[in-house]
Symmetry: C2
Subunit: 215 residues, 2 copies
Amino acid sequence: MSRRNAPKSVIKRLPVYLRILDNLIRRDVEIISSRVLSEETGFTAEQIRKDLAYFGAFGTRGTGYNTTYLREKLLRIIGLDKETKLVVVGVGHLGKALTRYNITKNPYVKVVGIFDANPKEHGSEIEGHKVMSMEEMPRVIKEHDVKVAMITVPAEPAQDVVDQLVENGITAILNFAPTKLHVPEEVHVHNADLTIELQSLIYYTLEDEKKNYAE
Amino acid sequence: MSRRNAPKSVIKRLPVYLRILDNLIRRDVEIISSRVLSEETGFTAEQIRKDLAYFGAFGTRGTGYNTTYLREKLLRIIGLDKETKLVVVGVGHLGKALTRYNITKNPYVKVVGIFDANPKEHGSEIEGHKVMSMEEMPRVIKEHDVKVAMITVPAEPAQDVVDQLVENGITAILNFAPTKLHVPEEVHVHNADLTIELQSLIYYTLEDEKKNYAE
DNA sequence: CATTGTGAACGGATTCACAGCC
DNA sequence: GGCTGTGAATCCGTTCACAATG
């Protein structure tokens, strides 16, 4: 069955399923029902079945899903069946931590270039990877045919950095800079904005205090 | 006009508006139309007007919105008109970086406690704040009446940490641990999961390669 | 008979279109 | 005239209910 254009919300859930399956397989669980997946993920069983059905019929009626088989299908669907190359731009505290996290914890992803505008950082190492100058970025992206970038620069230079990335062939950007990025339609941006998450969370702490907002 | 129960999607956009307003005010812009806000945020002008209308009529027909006035309203709506106290649990590389980020970049938020299970971290400082043992957490939360927590512990201990937080009165959790947290209905969790963001992004890099997934 | 896979019904959020107002 | 505020129409994702099937 071929890929129908699944909604974004579905795509965001696929990595969750993958993570649960990894855990189950580690515990030698071979079969899993949508009901149990539901308990593990917090999504409804119907939703899980429908999500998977966007890409094919992977289960067995009356039984459930084979964990190993489903995991392999998900890897293929998400695009993790082959290693994804990644460049990182910006190595402040957060950039360093996130880069380290990706290098050590994300087996499906390979960091092939780390860049920063600050010359003081050039040549320093993060988990054995040297930080390079921005000038080297185009060469590295082309050399490895990189499509995915993570940026953790401040808000001000972010758009300029993104323009350079897009110009050199990047089509997917994980943005930690606290700003809206403008990119061509074919380029995908996922924003991971700490401040927005935290502030919208704070909203709910006063949810029950029924207050007035005009005057 | 009083707060009607606005959808989650609206709440997530409020901090975006706030950030744009902060920038505009810094540039001495006094009036802004929903159309220009639309260009700055990427949301449609109608959506912006509707979002704001959930909380009141803050604009002037024929003119637009007064930036300073709207900013103040938004601060009040989100709950940022008074300082929000925050505790942090887990100070690995990522926890340290995020804590630093909050202390230095988030003026509306005040970190009142940083905790870690690892005794080696106890007494070490992050931007002048001492890291404490988990045993001190209940006291600090009660002393400051803290409602919001950020957790950056590994997946395994995350649920246990969350249970402790909830037990001590935390009602809002920003979760960086790569796992689903189970909490009572009245507790709000926002997940900020790097791996999920990155993996779902990778999906889109192969969007155009029309492939088959069942064999 | 348990569980998947799926068309139909539902509901919530976005967009449309325009009335209301400065 | 221009821009906000908003009911109505639309779109899209979730839930429901059940047919299909190992």
